[in-house]
């Protein structure tokens, strides 16, 4: 059996609030193999984003362990986590999160700046990823000059530019109409077929249906984990 991209053991996260410690995530054991496409579902406030932030090394757990490609990253320092986010993980957000002052090409190339790539290499790779999401002609445009669906494509290109093994997407279609959503899901399915592991949060069942495996959260607990029966997405 190949090494799991993601393996959590008793993962928990509590937030300190005015009312005291609030457990947003409790004792989650989950393993995701390389090349899987997993949808995470659950009602609002059930801890999905909390879980994704932990998977994405944006936050550290209060308890338990998290193995990313075999390495326990639960207790790493901030800058080590930043390096992991840069090299191993691609993020796609609900709100696209492009930098408005930069051209699309520069947006896509930004992770490479922090990876220490040279300018020419940054340019080439950014253009390649833009072409991969079908936006080769928009390299010089600004985010506010293109549609929401196109912006999300640029965000995906940015997530891909450092060739990560894992893409994490927290409600990537939450701001898009159903037609555009389907297009974006098609793109994710394509990337998954190319071998990239994808973990995607959604509360729309037709979006979740694209994934081969569905995980459900309720009140911070992992309550169900079952295959959708689909071999390939959408």
């Amino acid at each position: 059996m190949p090494e799991a991209v993601i393996r959590t053991v008793g993962l928990g996260k509590s937030y300190l609030t005015a009312a005291g410690s609030f457990p947003a995530l409790k004792d989650v054991d989950l393993s995701i193999a390389s090349g899987e496409f997993v949808a995470i579902m659950g009602p609002s406030g059930s801890g999905k984003s909390t879980f994704m932030n932990l998977l994405g090394c944006l936050d550290t757990p209060s308890s338990g362990d998290y193995f990313l490609v075999g390495r326990n990253v639960a207790h790493l320092a901030r800058d080590e986590l930043a390096a992991l986010r840069n090299r191993c993980i691609g993020f796609v957000f609900q709100g696209f999160n492009l930098l408005p002052r930069m051209s699309l090409e520069d947006n896509v190339a930004l992770p490479l700046v922090y990876a220490g790539c040279r300018r020419e290499e940054r340019r080439q790779r950014a253009r390649r990823e833009l072409a991969r999401v079908g936006l080769a002609d928009y390299a010089g445009a600004r985010p506010n000059q293109i549609s929401g669906g196109q912006q999300q494509r640029v965000a995906i290109a940015r997530a891909l530019v450092n060739s990560p093994q894992l893409i994490l997407a927290d409600e990537p279609t939450g701001n898009l109409d159903s037609h555009t959503s389907a297009e974006i899901m098609g793109l994710f399915a394509d990337l998954n077929r190319q071998g990239i592991s994808i973990v995607l949060v959604t509360h729309e069942s037709d979006i979740a249906a694209c994934a081969a495996r569905q995980v459900r959260f309720r009140d911070g607990l992992l309550v169900s984990d079952e295959p959708t029966g689909k071999a390939t997405a959408c």
């Binding site: 932030n53 994405g56 944006l58 936050d59 901030r78 800058d79 930043a82 390096a83 986010r85 840069n86 090299r87 993020f91 957000f93 999160n97 492009l98 930098l99 002052r101 930069m102 930004l110 992770p111 700046v113 922090y114 990876a115 220490g116 300018r119 940054r122 940015r158 450092n162």
Partner: protein
């Protein structure tokens, strides 16, 4: 990486031109005024130093005081208590370079139809060295001129210009109180002294001639003033002490009796003038520095606003792999860029203002490379100092909180 960051800092500055420009203006004014004030201050120091060097260094003037005979005191210099013999004795002391007895006063000089009133100084040859006089042409009078009380004179530039408007005074004759004097030398120009008096409005003649023909001395062998030059500044305290002891002994003053002469230390006066201008230029610089400080605070203020406005951007950058030091560097760079750009413009304006001041007034302006370098270093320092706190705040943001920021 560095180039990418420079480009981004430039872009960030360009994104809000008015704001960056106004922030920069604070630095422009700060650096500009520091450079200008330093230039004026150093100019003043320079011209005072210049003046001091023309007055002769390490000088004492011994002035004859009141004779007290039978409890009767006449005023300062009333009856001269100093003698030529005193001057000769002082010259024998250790650490004394030059001694010149002096009898001086204002006299009317006449040449043909021109007449001009100038300070006439009767003295001996060492006076030239003591007062740092050099000759532009001709030659100085000698000890034998003093002994023989010849009627020769050395003329200063101002007196020469007024008495001999269109001719070379060398070899010409002028009259003082009907006595003809032959001009054997023309003194090189010195300019004003520290009190603002024109040092070139003068005529030097042998002491003996001055006493007999010009001022008339009812007390032969006595003199009102002796100029004493020490060999070095370090030698001055010792020279002063031995000079006082010598004169008291020669004048047969008993213990407890007041000196019958006054001692003026010209070096001390020069030092205090130099000190005054030094303090003045420091003060000017300090006042100007306050505006630099205000400029720095302006940068800090704007950077704090910028960090708050761009919280989400910071979150995004962190999510895609920016380390804390990357964020820190980014905002430090922006602060540095504003302050250094402001500094460059400020330097131009400061130097321009200094040159303009130089052109429009007769103030001496000195722009030294060091002051320019210091202004530049201080501005860069201010950029880093006042940029650090906002940049540190940006770098310390929590990525998730920052991403959630609207």
């Amino acid at each position: 990486m560095l180039k990418a960051m420079l480009g981004e800092a430039w872009q960030a500055m360009g994104a809000n031109r008015l704001r960056s420009g106004l922030t920069m203006l604070g630095m422009v004014i700060g650096v500009g005024s520091v450079v200008l004030m330093l230039a004026i201050g150093q100019g003043a120091q320079y011209s005072v130093a210049q003046t001091i060097s023309t007055m002769g260094s390490n000088l004492y003037i011994v002035i004859s005081g009141s004779t007290s005979a039978g409890g009767l005191r006449s005023g300062s210099g009333g009856g001269p208590t100093l003698t030529i013999g005193d001057a000769e004795a002082i010259a024998e002391l250790d650490g004394v370079a030059n001694v010149a007895p002096v009898q001086q006063g204002t006299q009317q000089l006449v040449h043909g139809p021109n007449n001009w009133s100038a300070t006439v100084v009767g003295t001996t040859p060492p006076y030239l060295d003591a007062r740092a006089w050099t000759l532009q042409s001709g030659y100085p009078f000698s000890d034998s001129d003093v002994r023989a009380a010849t009627r020769v004179a050395l003329i200063g530039q101002t007196a020469a210009d007024n008495l001999f408007p269109n001719e070379d005074p060398l070899g010409k004759t002028l009259r003082i109180r009907q006595s003809p004097f032959v001009i054997i030398g023309v003194l090189a120009r010195k300019g004003q002294n520290l009190d603002g008096r024109d040092q070139d409005d003068t005529l030097l003649i042998p002491l003996t001639t001055a006493q007999r023909k010009v001022f008339g001395n009812p007390f032969p062998g006595s003199v009102r003033m002796i100029m004493v030059q020490a060999t070095s500044a370090e030698a001055m305290p010792a020279v002063e002490a031995s000079m006082v002891a010598l004169l008291r002994q020669r004048h047969r003053l008993r213990e407890g009796q007041d000196n019958d002469f006054y001692l003026r230390n010209l070096a001390a006066a020069a030092d205090s003038a130099a000190e005054t201008t030094r303090v003045m230029s420091l003060l000017l610089g300090a006042i100007a520095s306050v505006s630099l400080l205000v400029g720095g605070i302006g940068i800090m203020n704007i950077m704090l606003v910028s960090v708050t406005e761009r919280t989400r951007e910071i979150g995004i950058r962190m999510a895609i792999g920016a380390r804390q030091r990357d964020i820190l560097a980014q905002f430090l760079f922006e602060a540095l860029m504003i302050s250094v750009a402001g500094c460059l413009i400020g330097l131009l304006i400061g130097v321009g203002g200094a040159l303009l001041t130089n052109a429009l007034t007769d103030m001496v302006i000195v722009i030294s490379g060091t002051s320019v370098l210091v202004a530049f270093a201080v501005a860069a320092g201010i950029g880093i100092f006042f940029g650090y706190y906002p940049a540190h705040r940006a770098a310390a943001l929590d990525p998730i909180e920052a991403l959630r920021h609207q």
